[in-house]
Amino acid sequence: MSFLLPLALVASSLVTGLIIFALAEESVRLRTALNLLGALSKLLLVGWMLLGVYNGVEYEARFKLLPGLPLVLRADALALLFVTLSAQLWFLTTIYAVGYLEDSPHRSRFFGFFSLCVTATVGVAMAGNLLTFIVFYEMLTLSTYPLVVHRGTPVARRAGETYLLYTVLGGVLLLLGAAWLYTLTGTLEFRPQGIVSDLDASHHKALVGIFVLLIAGVGVKAALLPLHGWLPKAMVAPAPASALLHAVAVVKAGAFGIVRVVYDIFGVQFAAGLGVMMPLAWLASATILYGSVRALFQDDLKRRLAYSTVSQVSYIALGVALVGPIASVGGLVHLVHQGIMKITLFFCAGNLAETLGIHKISEMNGVGRRMPWTMGAFTVAALGMIGVPPVAGFISKWYLGLGAMEVGAGWVLLVLAGSSALNAMYFLPILYRAWFLQADGEWPHERHYPRAETSLALLIPPLVTAALALAVGLFASVPYSPQEWAKLVVLREFYDL
C-alpha cells in the first residue's frame, strides 16, 4: 500500500485529464462528473496519507528511469503540506472553473490541461529526487502554457511566449545545476540535511555555483526578482487558470522548489555555512518590497493581485533563508496561507469580471452593494494579506517576525512592516471603493442570476476559501493544521526528529 498510494495520487488527476481530452465538447455532464470525481478522489487519498505520515508511515514508489537515477515519488511532511493545499484548492477551483467556463469554447482542452497541471504539481511535491522534480517541473511548464494562451488572443499568445521563455530558461538552469551536482555527489536523492554536506571545502565555489543555478531555476516560477516578469503578463489567462498559477501550482512549485533545494539538497545549516542564505534573504526582502510597490500603481485588478503574489511568495523564501526554526515555520506555513488567501482574491476578481464585466479597480465603485458576498470574501482575504489578525496572513507574519528576532535579524521586522503598510495602501482603497462609494452607473457587462448575486458555482468557492483563511488563522495550532505540518518539517530539518 505504501507503494501504491503515491502512484494513485498522481494517477487520480492524470487519468482524469487523459479521459477528458478524449471527450467531445458537448459532453458537459460527463466532463464535470469526471473532474469532480478526480478532485474528490485525490482529496480522499491525501487525507489517508496525511494520517499515515503523521503517524510515521513512509510512502514511496520507485521506478528505474536512468542508470543510478530512478524516478521516485515519496510522501514526507513537506510534500504533504504542498499536496494537501493543491488537492483542496484543486477541488474548489474545479467547481469554480465549471461555472466560469459554462459557455466558453474548448472546455475539454482547458480541463484536460487543468488536470495535467495538477498532476505535475503533485509530482513536483512528491518528487523524491532532483531528477523526478525536474521531470514534473517541466511537465508543469508545458501543461500550464495552454491555459495561459487559452483565450487565443494576440495578447494571450504574447503572454504565453513570455511565460515559456522565462520558464524554459528556468528549466535549463535547473538542469545544468542538477548535472553539475551529480558530477560532484553521484546522487540527486533528496535527503534531510542535504546530500552535499560530506563534500570538503575545496568544492566551496562549485557548490555556490550549483546553489545559484538551482535557485535561479526554481526562482523563475517563484517570481523572485528579477525573474518575475512573466507573472503579471500571464494575467490574460481566465480566472481559474490565474488562480491555479498563483495559489495552487506554478508559483507555489517555485517556492516549494526553493525549500527543497535548501533543505534536502544543501541542508539548511550547510547552506548557511556556504554564505548563500543571507543573500537569498536580501533578495527575498527586495522582492517583497518591490512587488508591493509595483502593485500600488496597477489599475487592472488582476495585475495588482499578480504583483501582490510576487511580493507575498517571497515570504516563503525569506522564512527559509533566515535559518531559524521559527522563521522557517512562518515561511512554510505561508505556502499554505498565501495560497488560500490569494485564490480567494482571484475567485472574487473572476466573479466581478464574469458577472459585471469589471476588470479595473477604477470600475469597482459600489460593487460591494451589488455583490456583498463576493466582496465580503475579498475583504477577509485582503485583510489577511495585510496581516490583520486573526486571518491566516497574520500567523505567517507573526512567526516570521519572531523567527527574525530569534536569529538576530531585526531588520526583517522593518521589511515585514513596510510590506504590510504597502499591502494596506493597495488593498484598503479597493475596499473603500467597493463598500463606500456609489456606483457610477451601469456596470460594463452585467449578467443577472436568479438565485444569488452570481452563479452558485462561482460564489461558493470564494466563500469556502475565505472561511478557510479565517479558520486556519483562528485554529492555527490544532493537530493537522498547516502550522503543525510546518513544525513537523522544521523538526526534521533542524533537529533530525
Binding site: P325, I326, V329, L383, I386, G387, V388, P389, P390, F394, I395, K397, W398, Y399, G401, L402, A404, M405, E406, G410, L413, L416, A417, S420, A421, A424, L428, Y432, W435, F436, L437, Q438, G473, L474, F475, A476, S477, V478, Q483, E484, K487, L488, V490, L491, F494, Y495, L497
Partner: protein, 304 residues
C-alpha cells in the same frame, strides 16, 4: 511531537478575565455602545441598517475582547478589528465626506498596528510568551520608559489616539465634515492605545512610570496628528498649520498635559462652535463621551 520548536499557540488558549480595571472599562464600552447604537439606529436610513449593525457589532465585540484579554495577541486582535470596524462605521454614517479623514485614520491605524507588531515581537524575543505578565517583565528588562521599547509603546499608543483627535471639531474648517454620534465610541477604541500602556507598564496604575507613559502617548498623538494633518490632509497653509498647532496644544491642555492656563482661552474660542453643535443636537454625544471618559478615569483611579 513538537519538542525542539517551542511555539506559543496564537490565540488559542487566550484567556479573558474581568478584574476591577476590566469591569470598569467594559462598563464604559457597553454604556457608550448602547447610547450611540440607539442614536445611530434612529438616525440611519433603513436600507443601511443591516450593514451598520454588522460593523457596529464588530466594533463592540472586538473592543470587549481587547478589554478583557489577558494575553497580548488577543488584545492585538481585538483593538485591531475594533479600529478597522470603527473607521468603517464612520464611513457608513458620514459617507464619502469622511473619506479623507478616514484615509488618515486608516493610515494611523495601520501604522499603530505595525509598531505594535514590532513591539510585541521584540518583547516576545525576551519573554518567550505572550501573556501580559511575562511581557511586562520583558518590558522592564528591556529598559522601560526611556528606551527603544518605551518609544515603540508610546508611538503605537500615540497613533491610536491621534485617530481620535482627527474627529474633534477644529476651527478654520480643517475637515470637510462634522463629528457624529460615533465620536464617543471612537474615543473608546482609541483609548485602547492607552490601555496597552497600562497593561505593559503597570496595571495597578501605582507606578509613576505608567502615567509618564500615558502622557508620552498623548504627546506622540499630537505629533502624529500634526503630521497627518499637514502631510495627508494637505494642510499646507502656514496660517492653518499654526491654527492646528494652537488647537492641538489646547486639546493637550484639556487632557491635562500641563497647559491648564490655556483652557480659558480654548473655551472662549470654542464656545461659538459648541453652541452651533448644540443646535444641531450633536453636542450631547460629545458630552456623554467626555463624561464617560472622566468616569473611566475616576474608576481607574479608584482601582489603583
Amino acid at each position: 511531537m513538537t519538542s525542539g520548536v517551542a511555539l506559543d499557540p496564537v490565540l488559542q488558549g487566550s484567556r479573558l478575565a474581568s478584574g476591577p480595571l476590566e469591569l470598569a472599562l467594559l462598563a464604559a464600552v457597553i454604556v457608550l455602545w448602547l447610547l450611540f447604537g440607539a442614536w445611530l439606529w434612529r438616525a440611519s436610513e433603513r436600507m443601511h441598517r443591516v450593514a451598520l449593525a454588522v460593523v457596529y457589532g464588530c466594533v463592540v465585540v472586538a473592543l470587549c475582547a481587547g478589554v478583557l484579554a489577558q494575553e497580548a495577541l488577543l488584545f492585538y486582535t481585538g483593538i485591531s478589528i475594533a479600529g478597522y470596524a470603527t473607521v468603517a462605521t464612520l464611513l457608513a454614517v458620514h459617507g464619502v465626506d469622511h473619506a479623507r479623514t478616514a484615509a488618515a485614520q486608516a493610515m494611523l491605524l495601520v501604522l499603530g498596528d505595525l509598531i505594535l507588531f514590532e513591539l510585541l515581537a521584540y518583547l516576545y524575543s525576551e519573554a518567550q510568551a505572550t501573556g501580559f505578565g511575562e511581557l511586562r517583565a520583558a518590558y522592564r528588562e528591556k529598559g522601560g520608559g526611556l528606551s527603544f521599547v518605551g518609544g515603540l509603546l508610546v508611538a503605537t499608543g500615540g497613533c491610536r489616539i491621534a485617530g481620535l483627535l482627527l474627529l474633534a471639531p477644529l476651527p478654520g474648517r480643517l475637515y470637510p465634515w462634522r463629528p457624529g454620534a460615533v465620536t464617543g465610541l471612537l474615543c473608546v477604541a482609541m483609548v485602547a492605545g492607552l490601555l496597552l500602556g497600562v497593561r505593559l507598564v503597570d496595571p495597578s496604575l501605582a507606578a509613576p512610570e505608567v502615567w509618564y507613559t500615558l502622557l508620552g502617548m498623548l504627546g506622540a498623538a499630537l505629533v502624529a496628528h500634526l503630521l497627518v494633518v499637514t502631510c495627508v490632509l494637505s494642510l499646507a497653509r502656514r496660517g492653518g498649520l499654526l491654527q492646528g498647532v494652537s488647537v492641538l496644544a489646547s486639546r493637550a491642555a484639556v487632557f491635562g498635559a500641563g497647559m491648564l492656563a490655556r483652557v480659558g482661552e480654548l473655551t472662549m474660542r470654542l464656545a461659538p462652535r459648541l453652541r452651533a453643535l448644540e443646535q444641531r443636537f450633536l453636542s450631547w454625544s460629545v458630552a456623554v463621551a467626555t463624561a464617560t471618559a472622566f468616569a473611566v478615569l475616576v474608576a481607574l483611579s479608584a482601582v489603583s
